[in-house]
Symmetry: D2
Subunit: 309 residues, 4 copies
């Protein structure tokens, strides 16, 4: 399957660690199987929320390869790096291991349209024209703002650009603009999967997104929202989404989000430990009880959350 026609949910996978910081391979396997069972269309590993920068080169490759082997579905691998040599090395290795493509975020020093376009051209050249890549457009974290016209230039310049991980904020008009470019034939189609923890997924689908690429701790719910929305069941999609919104919102807190995510995945029995490598931190006690409260509230209408309580 080609990434540019992808639809559904690509789950951003966290990297499970043992309490002592070693990579937890059994949890990787269990998590991968859970994502498949949850209705994911694909999996993304080594993203920001996968604690990628905290892995050394050998660990990164091992995690990606393990998920790829087990998933039986497209796996996108984050290869963002401070330079092209490391980016190329990881990209070639994970493609050899069976990845469907790689994801590249821009360095946070880019400040002009031309410099962003040039960066992606150089990156695409560095990893090789045969490696499909995903643009990660996440200004809140990366401080780089790409207009729709800049994204169009990247897509048109690079045949290997196949997907946009859309997490501009606000970003609804951007989806509409990009889909408008397709309609007026000024840009070829790429898949648009939305991040931002899913915070705007309800309306992003209605604006023309193909699905989500995020790691909210109930990817099964995200898959249902995408399915309901694609099927035109607007109210049902919003009803399900709204039931989770208090927790989605809570998880979307920068820096706290991954702790929430790992805590809930642990409670759901999917990973063994909520441990993060430094500088990450576990959830504080008050936060833990707030998440518990939110889970109990979700459980009133969504059985998935009951399993977590």
């Amino acid at each position: 399957m080609s990434l540019d026609t992808a639809r559904g949910v690509y789950v951003i996978a966290p990297t499970p660690f043992h309490d002592d910081g070693r990579v937890d391979e059994a949890s990787i396997d269990r998590m991968t199987e859970f994502f498949v069972a949850a209705g994911a269309a694909g999996i993304t590993v080594l993203g920001q929320m996968g604690e990628a920068p905290k892995l050394d080169a050998a660990e990164a490759l091992a995690v990606a390869a393990r998920v790829i082997r087990r998933a039986g579905m497209p796996v996108v691998v984050g290869v963002t790096a401070p330079g092209f040599a490391a980016m190329r090395a990881l990209a070639r290795e994970v493609m050899d291991a069976g990845a469907a493509g790689v994801m590249i975020a821009p360095p946070n020093t880019l400040r002009t349209d031309d410099s962003i376009v040039a960066y992606y051209r150089q990156a695409a050249e560095a990893i090789g024209a045969d490696v499909p890549f995903v643009i990660q457009d996440y200004p809140l974290t990366f401080s780089v703002q790409m207009t729709p016209a800049v994204i169009r230039r990247i897509v048109q310049d690079n045949a290997s650009c196949r997907m946009l991980k859309h997490e501009d904020w606000p970003g609804l008009e951007k989806i509409s603009a990009l889909r408008g470019f397709e309609r007026d034939d000024s840009m070829r189609h790429v898949s648009i999967l939305c991040g931002n923890g899913g915070l705007f997924l309800d309306f992003e689908m209605e604006r023309g997104a193909d699905g989500a690429m995020t790691g909210y701790c109930f990817p099964d719910m995200l898959a249902d929202v995408v399915r309901l929305s694609a099927a035109g069941q607007r109210d049902a999609a919003h009803d399900l989404f709204d039931a989770h919104l208090p927790l989605i919102r809570y998880e979307q807190q920068q820096g706290v989000g991954l702790a929430v995510r790992k805590y809930v995945l642990m409670r759901r029995g999917i990973i063994a430990s909520e441990a993060q490598r430094p500088p990450g931190a576990r959830l504080a006690a008050a936060a833990r009880s707030e998440v518990d409260y939110l889970l109990a509230r979700i459980a009133r209408t969504d059985a998935r959350a009951r399993l977590a309580s």
Copy 2:
């Protein structure tokens, strides 16, 4: 009443304009009366969402004075300025006009703890030690990060510091830390009112906040949430809050938020026009219909939204 013991909702007032850009005084009056009737404990004018930088000096004073005269409750006035001369001038004028205090955001160049503390000391001196002031702690917009210890230094250094507009994000642990400082007697009490469009108000109240200082388009709902939460009716507070969360979340989109807010206030009959001065823009058509949809959904459980539909 002294600001440091304030509780409840201080509504961030937008500045109503006619379609041609002139200040709309009749709408100011109607809006002020609505805020009073909605259960506000105070009003804040000339904040970021009040389009303060788009007013000239005479307009700014006139808007503040008009709200103060009509409100009959404490009015805080934003006096953030690129320099102390303009800040002092406006602060003295609005205090003479009856303001309860002023609000000061830090310039976005501050990068060390000491520079933040020094800035507030100089600002407090510039406006005069007799002018109560509010710290605006909003890193997402101002790019200045204040630790709890820095806020404590500002409070302890400046007797005229009376309130924190808390909109750090994430910020729940910060409220707990500040209240901890009070308990261990290392910091005197100041009122903590929360901004961020109310996105975390449910838990902020439980962490020890005194209320909200934000301009979400249903301040009457915020007042009820604060009241329910303060009364220990946790589930009821969350139920009401959650019904509005999809719209709160929508309004919290940077740059789009004020357009949503003015649109809904116009639909509620509170202001005559949703017009903003440049560079602000009205809501795009698709966004407008999304807000309409959210209002209709809220209206299923909250009669206030029915009036708006």
Copy 3:
């Protein structure tokens, strides 16, 4: 004279204060006369180094008007403001008072080419199409990066854009690119005057700049360098420039620069006091003696510095 054909040195004027912080009008007059005698082609007031944000609205207008009345040469007035209402008010007032044009720096939140172009279009409209304006391109301070193509768009979109205050860093290739646009007829001519404290003036002239717009404490030297360079006396221009470079470099330290500048202007008898309004600070003792040492070294070859020692 029209700003777009300006050549020579527009001196960035500091605002002289008495030790108690009041504006020192006698020093303004003496300074203005000195700039004229020093061979300036124009004067720029209310820039960043003119402590503009520290003046209230009435003071700002009074300072500008006083310099305009005395100068008898073109005066550009900085009108950068957080919003268009204040920008327009000051722009109209100083044009009525006889200014040759106004200077506008971009707000430091602009991050895309289109947003920069849109900002200048809105600003030009706000101040009125009859008001000639200068783009201030100073990324080091304002964090906004304008490519040559963006500057061309601003120039071509706005007939009232007449001059570029060029202080990108590095910026030599930018001057070459802009002059190339003129040669290939894709951009009309505007005057390019260079800032950055003059740190690259030697080569900026050779790349096609029309002169300097900066406030180095020996504007008379800058005028000579511009004259020598324009006359093709390359070695002589560099010899004079290099003699001052140790002090130019010293003055170019962000935050310290204005203290150096005022200290030397005071020593040269041009302003009565080196006082700045807060948060500015006088030169520390060690720095003062370093500047004295540099002045003594310059005095070995340039008589102007002897007068200062």
Copy 4:
């Protein structure tokens, strides 16, 4: 020798490449020998100007090990990385290979005093308490501002912190403050070597710095300036420094600097090619001729530059 008592010049080594982008080992050897002969006290490899992020892990280790073997003097290795796993891996490897210590720059997201201190504590723990490290304090590039008090906390918290690469700008008062901390016994001694391309080396020595850590293309001149200054020959130090200042200033242009540096080192016969890996670029033609002109001017008084012309 322990890094904390280091004096003199630690040359920041560029990484020489062949025109096709491969690491040029013969040039590494020649360059290393040149640095030794030039009077360097040490060498720093894999810094920002060493194009470290453009090397993959194996290349980085190979470059460091090669310089270490050849140098016969202390070699500091940059190990800055997006995460602690990669940082630790490289640090352990280069220490095993004989490095004298490692250099760590802060991630550009740190915004509070505590977060900077915490980062260095975690980094020191990650690489191991037996690995001497150098703080790189370079706000212009890294956007992290460390006050003298923060540096003191890092030094006092971590026995393995041995040196400060000082390139704050402006930074003279910071050196004075840190030396003041030593005098009042609130901070133990660390070596302070100055970067910033040497732009303020003349006065930095007088403020108490121990030398330079920078890669200006005439490290032999830097060594002489440090020696003259340490010997109290103030005027001679400044005379030599000032002769090079026009080129130092030219080389200090962000983004252009490394191209200048490699061009001159190539002209001096020290490296075979001025090639950089992408996204680096060679000097444009006009810039090349400007550097030639500056070299010719330096050659009038400094024979070293004659060899380069």
